[in-house]
Symmetry: C2
Subunit: 118 residues, 2 copies
Amino acid sequence: MLVRIEPTSDEPLFEQIAASIRSDAAAGRLRSGDRLPPAREVATALDVNLHTVLRAYQDLRDEGLVDMRRGRGAVVTDAVAALAQLRNEIDELVAQSRHLGISPELLTSLVKEIAHDR
Amino acid sequence: MLVRIEPTSDEPLFEQIAASIRSDAAAGRLRSGDRLPPAREVATALDVNLHTVLRAYQDLRDEGLVDMRRGRGAVVTDAVAALAQLRNEIDELVAQSRHLGISPELLTSLVKEIAHDR
DNA sequence: AGAGTTGTTCTAGTTGATATAGAATAACTT
DNA sequence: AAGTTATTCTATATCAACTAGAACAACTCT
């Protein structure tokens, strides 16, 4: 389990951390029952504040991707199965989007808008 | 042409304005050659600063969705055709995502991550 | 040519989210 | 009982978002 961030990006650190873990989940690198590394450990490894990592973990919990308990840590839920199932279709959409010359930013914005509107 | 925003949302105003216009474009309500309303007009109508609207317009220009010139305003480009083409597939993805119980936020984040990674 | 329109650029100030820091606490594991 | 880990609290610093006002440059229309 390796969390990657890009300190120079304009994306918030907590969002990058969460995105990295979501990506691992969708790719099947994280399975139901797996434990995320302790927040303190990630914070030290990335040279980032503990609260920043916890913010990312809490977002993942709000999305239903992990369960969190003190002393036990963050454990991946069954929801990851659905992610892996969606993965192929997202790949196809991204591929066609590229073929049409639509930027990742524009595609993302469109999906966001449509997903929220119905 | 009607731009809608939600002042209470945590989404930046300029992003909401841009998203509203992208949505109109993808739905076919905006066609190549159509003019966006003047930024000053939108600013007054939404009770928002001129710079905030221009920031949204400039983002749309960076995405290739509109051309902008002083005195003439913002004109929709041919790129909208590609958007309308993608629209159906995005609708399908969103539908399946809902069926799997995946939140709009999670779906959006996944698409963003995957679109940028390849 | 002249007047009006519209985006561009500049300076400046306010607010809120992001991130950091340190500490104490509560729930869980071994 | 001891160690681990998330939770909660206060506090501070920084930066993006937003606002405000003004001047400017390129385009349209009469």
